[in-house]
């Protein structure tokens, strides 16, 4: 799988490398996989916790304006894209219904716990400037949310739990105009925000077997194609989809 990159893909990979070397800020790592973990395609029953999806616009003045239509559309697109991509691997992904399981508070706590762990991974392991000495990459990817996650009602038939989160602030026209105008005057105005993470947890052990945490995601989630690209990036390095132990986050295979 990993070694079969076509010419176009190789070129884009080289370009990405050059880009990363030119901009040191982009060297933040994005993916972690538990050592030696492999997931044979089609073997896993995965439960997807309700993704956290936030989409809105960033006004000229930098304020975040939540947009319900975009968020609804994005949620639908992302749900569909997740089904498609997992479907390609033959894994079944079932949505977790916290209301039906009457586990609203507890599933919320696990979401909080997962977020705490994912944030810790990003802040203290992925980000080179802030790495904890005992969490250096050569010591492996060793994170867990504990075995009690199996006690969440409704997980008795699940092998893994999947957590997904995306947040997009799209720079409005005004914001982009401001950016161009400001650049001419030598002032830097950041525009847009595209954060995401995706993590897979082994239900029996609670171990985080795989995590992607990216502060600069591509793909416009308001469109079906863009959501496919976004979910593709979210699932970069997903065990069974590329070579395991893929530490460096090159952009995913380009979608046609």
């Amino acid at each position: 799988m990993g070694g079969m990159m076509g010419g176009w893909k190789r070129l884009s990979a080289w370009a990405a490398c050059a880009l990363m070397m030119a901009s040191p800020g982009l060297a933040q790592e994005k993916t972690g996989v538990k050592s030696g973990f492999i997931l044979p395609p089609g073997s896993a029953r995965i439960v997807l916790m309700r993704p956290s999806v936030i989409v809105g616009a960033q006004s000229t003045g930098g304020m975040f304006e939540p947009n319900a239509d975009w968020t609804d559309e994005a949620r639908r697109n992302i749900d569909r894209a997740i089904q498609d991509i997992q479907g390609q691997l033959g894994n079944s992904v079932a949505a977790y219904d916290s209301e039906a399981e009457e586990a609203g508070a507890l599933s919320g706590e696990y979401r909080s716990l997962f977020t705490s762990v994912a944030d810790s991974v990003r802040e203290y392991q992925f980000f080179p400037g802030n790495r904890l000495p005992t969490k250096k990459r050569d010591k492996g990817f060793d994170w867990s949310i504990g075995t009690d996650v199996a006690d969440l009602p409704g997980l008795s038939n699940a092998d893994y739990v999947l957590f997904i989160s995306t947040e997009d602030h799209y720079g409005s026209t005004g914001r982009k105009m401001l950016q161009i105008f400001a650049a001419m005057g030598g002032v830097s105005v950041p525009t847009g925000l595209h954060k995401g993470y995706a993590g897979l947890v082994d239900v029996k052990t609670g171990e985080l077997v795989w995590l992607n945490a990216d502060l600069q995601m591509g793909g416009d989630v308001r469109t079906a194609d863009g959501a496919q690209k976004r979910v593709g990036q979210l699932f970069e390095g997903f065990p069974g989809r590329t070579m395991p132990l893929a530490q460096n986050a090159l952009p995913g295979p380009a979608q046609p």
């Binding site: 705490s116 944030d119 000495p133 969490k135 075995t147 982009k176």
Partner: protein, 196 residues
């Protein structure tokens, strides 16, 4: 039009990279002095010390990140000083150490300080018992709390003593879900090595 997002986001990353004093390794077996004072501990396993400090007389250690398992040391907080950096001294002043504190006052000081600093009313001190801290009479106590916007119940254990009119304290805090139990023994083994 997709490339500008990446560049712009790169600008965001580079310009917003925090300047940290650096997180240091506290290697197993090497005595470490706390906050530049004569108080020391000798970690039985490798720990990390965060570059960011919660207060003038305090420092934070962690294994996996301060949101997951953290130990906060307070060394020689003098009378009249608060435990943490004041967030708004004029309108929300923190309570301070007093040289005449009884053991029972110490958890009250922590509770009030946390309620103000974290802006939460969900804080509870559970149990208290006498114990020896580095050879001095002190107490150990347990507590729990929840922060806003986090919703994770967190548990804590503290060991403290008032020595020479100054407060010395070690706190261990972690989410009640999984992490507290996972590393509480690591805290005990670490705290047992404290030396004045």
């Amino acid at each position: 039009m997709k490339i500008p997002y990446r560049f712009a986001a790169a600008v965001l990353v580079v310009t917003s990279a925090p300047a940290h004093a650096g997180n240091r390794l506290m290697p197993a077996g090497t005595p470490a002095q706390i906050a530049g004072t004569p108080l020391s501990v000798t970690p039985p396993i490798d720990w990390n010390r965060l570059g960011l400090r919660p207060g003038k007389f305090a420092e934070t250690w962690t294994l996996d990140g301060d949101r997951l398992n953290k130990v906060v040391f307070f060394s020689g907080v003098p009378a009249g000083s608060p435990l943490f950096r004041e967030i708004d001294r004029k309108n929300r002043p923190l309570p301070t150490v007093s040289a005449a504190m009884l053991a029972t006052d110490i958890p009250v000081l922590l509770e009030s300080s946390y309620r103000i600093v974290m802006d939460t009313a969900l804080f509870q001190v559970d149990a208290m018992a006498p114990t020896s801290v580095g050879g001095h009479d002190g107490l150990r106590f347990s507590y729990s709390y929840t922060r806003q916007n986090d919703e994770l119940r967190r548990k804590g254990e503290g060991r403290a003593a008032l020595v020479g009119g100054k407060l010395y304290m070690m706190l261990y805090e972690a989410p009640a879900l999984h992490f507290y139990d996972r590393n509480v023994e690591d805290f005990h083994k670490l705290a047992d090595t404290v030396k004045f």
